[in-house]
């Protein structure tokens, strides 16, 4: 649980200066994210994107505490308790994984704290479990899978093979794909969470007569599958959500990922001013290309800053209204919140390409315009 108390403006300043600033801090923000173990690369990008936004704003009245949740729900809860009880934070953010979000968010919002999600946005929190103090800045979990489904339909695929790990996010993923695809399936397979060998599934794909493949396998699972699939010599179009083909994953995938279509709500070549500025500033500061998690982190920081311009979190109603206005320049272009505090935004399809020696994603097309979420009607608030 690394604990770095960084001040946006005074990050380079001497300790004494930092201490004075801390004494004056009016707003406290707690970032809980995964900084150690296998999932650390996602948390590190989230943190770096968020901190980039904070540093650019150069406000010295915001204190930020960052801690490592080790990708364990009970540790995340413990950190949240500490930040709320001991550090007295006003706003929490940063959790990457849905199961950790489910552990932290309901309790935090029940205690009147604000939670801004930089990534995870499970169905429960978008529907029946929605809360006025919970804002998903990223998406609703199903969105990127829906994009792949819409793409499959628009391409005229008639027999895709779909696959995800057997856990709630995986089940939501296939449901999301089918919501927009609606046609016949060559096969529907649930793999094990953490599975590393996909020979059996690949043999099934080969035998199924599928005309395309959709899969959702986050983290190392996706890397394993893509490499093994490339080795199997099956020449079929591959689709997935952005997670498995994002900037942090591509170096490990290598050329096996070339040509894969992935659903995303952000791409580094998305044409707007805020995005161009973000991408070049991120590269400048961290010497690597930003991932989608970094983009979400950056947007979250800017949304929060825009609301802080208008109101203090201590005035919860005013601050909530200010967040809801979403009066910031999102790196994703047009952005507003629906009634369940989840974004209404365009969803795209990207393709993995090579720029010189570097693997990255290019925008292909917009597949769903102004997409909200499937659960918005279940949210009563």
């Amino acid at each position: 649980m690394i604990r770095t108390t960084l001040l946006a403006a005074a990050s380079l300043a001497a300790t004494t200066a930092a201490m004075t600033a801390a004494a004056q801090a009016e707003v406290k923000v707690g970032v809980i994210t995964t900084l150690s173990g296998g999932g650390a690369s996602l948390g590190i990008d989230t943190r770096d994107g968020f901190m980039l936004g904070m540093e650019q704003a150069a406000r010295d009245d915001i204190e930020i505490a960052i801690e490592d949740d080790q990708r364990k729900p009970d540790v995340a809860v413990q950190i949240a308790d500490k930040m709320i009880q001991s550090d007295k934070v006003d706003i929490l953010t940063g959790i990457v994984w849905s199961n950790l979000a489910m552990a932290v968010v309901p309790a935090a919002t029940a205690q009147g704290k604000f939670y801004l999600s930089t990534n995870a946005a499970p169905a429960q929190l978008a529907g029946r479990g929605c809360n006025p103090n919970y804002f998903a800045v990223s998406y609703q979990n199903d969105n990127l899978h829906e994009a792949a489904g819409a793409y499959a339909k628009s391409e005229g695929f008639s027999n895709p093979f779909i696959m995800a790990p057997n856990y709630p996010a995986g089940q939501d993923s296939l449901a999301g794909f089918k919501r927009y695809y609606e046609g016949d399936l060559a096969g529907e397979v649930y793999t094990q969470l953490g599975q590393t060998d996909y020979a059996a599934e690949i043999a099934q794909i080969r035998a199924s007569g599928a005309d395309s493949i959709f899969f959702f396998l986050p983290g190392g699972m996706g890397i394993s599958f893509v490499k093994q699939f490339a080795d199997a010599g099956i020449d079929l179009p591959v689709m997935g959500p952005a997670f498995s083909f994002d900037q942090s994953m591509l170096p490990a995938l290598g050329d096996a990922a070339l040509g894969v279509k992935n659903g995303a709500n952000w791409s580094k070549d998305l044409d707007n001013e805020a995005n161009a500025a973000f991408v070049s500033a991120f590269e400048e500061k961290y010497d690597r290309l930003p991932s989608i998690y970094a983009a979400y982190g950056y947007d979250t920081a800017n949304l929060m800053l825009s609301a802080l311009e208008k109101a203090e979190p201590s005035d919860a109603d005013a601050f909530r209204a200010a967040l809801k206005e979403a009066d910031f320049d999102s790196v994703r272009g047009d952005f507003k919140f629906d009634t369940n505090n989840h974004p209404i935004q365009d969803i795209y399809i990207r393709e993995v390409v090579k720029e010189g020696d570097v693997l990255t994603n290019h925008l292909v097309s917009t597949v769903i315009e102004d997409r909200s979420s499937a659960y918005v009607d279940e949210c009563k608030m």
Binding site: Q85, S86, M102, N166
Partner: protein, 324 residues
């Protein structure tokens, strides 16, 4: 008074003094941290009955911890959503009452321990370690992929369950409940160590043939020990889930089993207060080292290694000396 008794007294004193200080200094998180340590200690006291007294190296105690947690999660989530657990053949409703949850947790984890014990006790040594691990993995994979109660996402409870006459949402009051349980179970453990059953169990571990010769059945003694052990760890699981207001398959993972075992070993196997010292030490070191470096687990590993290699008998053994 021996050094071990002095140490035990000091530990009990700390269990009262630390939260008292935190209350006075208005540091509610210290109380939360202490509650975590006390619950881990309770789980480890449970394991210590199987491990220290019965010589049963179980690497699957997370099963009982998790069953306790899910007993809380399932009962409370049904109560929270006003949906009955079962309507036919007779109606069973969920509940938000801690005493009922504890009872269910103890019974369910005790039953699981009995079943696992019946099958596992046919083996011994490394095979016993591994078969308990296998049962742990079965439970873990089942919980992750079974969608009814949240699967991998787990179950979230908005408000901590209630105990008659107390406000469990106040950290110090919930701490009091956990501490009361820990002290009660420690007293039980002490009585058990001195009882005829405890002596027979100890003998069954060291000289099984002689125990058989006097007409006792060692596997049966061990089964009883395992059931007691599992029930206590299950109770700790219910409390842990209530502390976090959340339960998930992580509580069933083999790393959890490993951690419970770590508490016992660094504290001191078969020492009454070993699990208390071990859990307290682990929670402290996790909290302090976490502030030092992003790579704090390297140091945690080094500390554990040093304790095993050079600290005979764990912390209690190092401070109080070898057992007579």
């Amino acid at each position: 008074m021996t050094r071990e008794r002095l140490l035990n007294a000091a530990l009990v004193l700390a269990l009262f003094a630390v939260p008292a200080w935190a209350l006075w200094a208005d540091e509610p998180f210290t109380i939360t941290l202490a509650t975590r340590a006390v619950i881990f200690a309770l789980a480890a006291v449970g394991l210590n009955i199987a491990l220290g007294l019965g010589g049963l190296v179980s690497l699957g105690h997370a099963v009982f911890f998790g069953i306790g947690g899910y007993a809380m999660g399932i009962l409370a989530s049904h109560a929270q959503n006003y949906t009955p657990i079962m309507e036919a053949p007779f109606l069973i409703e969920g509940t938000k009452s801690m005493p009922i949850i504890w009872l269910v947790a103890v019974l369910a984890s005790g039953l699981a321990a009995w079943l696992i014990g019946l099958l596992s006790l046919r083996t011994s040594g490394v095979y016993f370690i591994m078969i308990t691990l296998a049962f742990g993995q079965m439970a873990y994979f089942f919980a992750t992929s079974w969608p009814t109660y949240g699967g991998e996402d787990g179950l979230s409870i908005y408000v901590r369950n209630g105990f008659p006459g107390l406000n469990t949402l106040v950290p110090i009051q919930f701490y009091g409940i956990c501490l009361a349980w820990l002290l009660l179970v420690l007293a039980l453990n002490r009585a058990l160590m001195r009882s005829r059953f405890g002596l027979a169990l100890n003998a069954a571990r060291q000289v099984p043939d002689r125990v058989r010769a006097v007409g006792l059945d060692p596997p049966r003694l061990q089964l009883v020990a395992l059931v007691l052990s599992g029930a206590i760890t299950g109770l700790a699981g219910a409390l842990f889930a209530d502390l976090n207001r959340f339960v998930s398959p992580t509580m069933l993972s083999w790393q959890m089993s490993g951690e419970i075992m770590v508490f016992v070993i660094i504290g001191g196997v078969a020492r009454l207060f070993g699990p208390v010292a071990g859990a307290g030490f682990y929670v402290l070191i996790e909290h302090w080292l976490g502030g030092v470096s992003e790579y704090w687990q390297i140091f945690l590993g080094l500390v554990l290694l040093l304790v095993v290699l050079f600290g005979k008998g764990g912390l209690v053994g190092m401070i109080a000396g070898a057992r007579k």
